[in-house]
Amino acid sequence: MTVVIDRVSGGGGDAPPPGGGHGPGLYQKRKAIYPKLVHGSFRRLKWGLMVVMLAIYYGTPWIRWPRPAGAPDQAVLIDFAHGRFYFFMFDLWPDEVYFITGLLVLAALGLFLTTAWLGRLWCGYACPQTVWTDLYLYVERLFEGDRNARMRLAKAGWGPNKIARKGAKHLVWLFIAAATGGAWIFYFEDAPTLFREFFAGEASVTAYFSFALLTFTTYSLAGTLREQVCIYMCPWPRIQGAMVDRHSLQVTYRYDRGEPRGPHRKGDPWTGRGDCIDCQACVVACPMGIDIRHGSQLECINCALCIDACDEIMVKVDRPTGLIGYDSDEAVTRRAAGKKAIYRPIRLRTVFYAAALIAVCSIMTWGFLQRTPYQLHVARDRNPLFVRLSDGAIRNSYSVKLVNRSYQPRTFHVTFGGVPVRLLQAPGLTPDRTGVNVTVASGEQRSIRLLATVPADRLTQALTPAEVTATVDDADAPVRTLAARTMFVSEGARK
């Protein structure tokens, strides 16, 4: 049933909107949220995860990883200037960006799987917005106290106390923001060097600009915008709506147990009523400012803090904990109907995501095992397709590119097979009877011209498949002989 209302005429005869939360208007004033500190296993888990994740973020650029031949010794470094991505024992070149793409696909599939299975795990525990907001709230409590004290302070007039507390909070916030922006730039240049340059005023404009930008976004997103980011800016809540279903385990108010809710005085019987005493503990603890008892909703980031808040109360009123907990809509509905709850962690959706995840993992692993620091590319000249020499023999020209990504200079023995070559030429080099040796410096690529001459009477077709191989003098390489298929084109092509 729908209620027809008149917004423009200002309520001519109609009752004011029932419980809509806002009156008629185009813009909504933001409701301030003062989340109350809770204690419990999820809060402890989140503190632990926050420490680990912040340590990873701030600490990673300072890990050293020795590399030979003058390469940077920073374990994780995105070196735009030289086109390298160093990650511990791996170093990726720009043309290997598909490994990064693969990682992103893995991350996406991982999110799909965890969301279908356990709801918005990412939003609740791992998203930087959640982690930094949690940290900023911690600082806020440090200076302004818990929920009630903060609300009092917000209402109080401006005086020395308020100025001191708010000022100190914002100073610490700014410091954290600056440290966050500062840590970001260390991923792109040698951290100790940049640290010194940064304070000496010698770092690049890009470094200072990135620092300023990340400082600003950290301060504004974690300090002031908070839940607005999740509700209005982030696309993920909408996307996740398509991934969770009735069997997903989400932070859920078990209304089968809680209803009918109502205030409860000590000593009153618990028969004929639900366990929810309507104490609002879950609501005041919520960093998103919502009521979990309304069920699964867009604003809920599944941070699980309401579970701790409710458990604290349940212990106090001597009822079993877990009125709010990880549960599925299906299970709750079935219990409410007096049936046995069923859980289906393995269902088409999760199986499909898991299969896709395993498939991409396998492809990535295979790709990594096949990865060799050496590469061979062959491009046959297309103008001219071939050259007829004075004695009638046919010559084809090829550009052969050899890449040496190892930390030592390497010599490749390049051969040309598939056609009876009479003469192999590589201008600037001296071919021997079997091919030509090409030395490529460490971390370099080298292009050579390869000209193969075949007597016309030895060619039976216009297009003869040919192959260029390059054998590298590195006994430890995963693939020692690289091969590239190409064609040998002759007169017949014109017929």
Binding site: I5, G19, G21, Y232, P384, R395, G435, R449
Partner: protein, 313 residues
Amino acid sequence: MSERERDDHSGVETTGHEWDGIKELDNPLPRWWLIVWYACIAFAIVYWVLFPAWPTLNGYTPGILGQSDRVNVANDMKALEAQRGAEGVMLEKASLEQIEKTPNLQAFAMAEGQAIFGNNCAPCHGAGGTGGKGYANLRDDVWLWGGQLADIEQTLKYGIRSGHPLARMSMMPSFGRDGLLKPQEVNDLTEYVVFLSHRAANSAAVARAAPIFAAQCAACHGPEGKGNQAVGAPNLTDSDWLYGSDRKSIHDQIWAAKGGVMPAWIDRLTPAQIKAVAVYVHVNSGGSGQATPVAEAAAPATDNTAAATPAAQ
């Protein structure tokens, strides 16, 4: 008076739009979004003042920062030229052989040479350098004036019959037109040239022409007709023909000789640029500069004489 419908589940008004039963809720925007919008407008006004923004009748408002993409591009081009100049100096200092043997220099010369070749040489010699009738093929093993690096550089610098004092210079006489030989003798000579290039020819005519060839042609083309690169006389025994291989083309050339002209590039290109093109042409021709003898190619077991025979064969 428009009336709004309220969704009874969420308590929010709808926009009144409906798609297959799905209705759009009309949630109000957060107020800070409005503020961000005003901030964008303020930014735009500041931008108009600082940067080129509005078109006027005769141009545009330049903005007080003086930003101009045209000036930026011009500066970038200048920087690029300075950089190329530095690399050009490297080409100038090194010898042609050094350029060809040093990987970085060869790569630079090939890239530079390709661009210069495309701009200056391709109109006659073709983008691929394969030439055409009257224009030499630079990709094969036949060289009228020599295919060593130094030969190519000299031809590039001074040209052929270009009018430059140091140009490659030679002129084949027009035997028929100028009455040096009788028409029958020109016909006989044509048969003789066909015979030289290992094709079937009238043996009587060949016999008649042999003394004429020795007297008139051997001075430049050699007693065996193998040519002489010092005077740009082509080898008549191979299968490469600048003006055509059929009897009529050969006859026409003996009757009224054509001599192609290549300009001197010394005044148009820098020495470094000429070196780059010389290396480019030399590398693309295989880098040997030696014509493969016909006898060797005609031998059946040619594989044994190869400089390189892949083990796979």
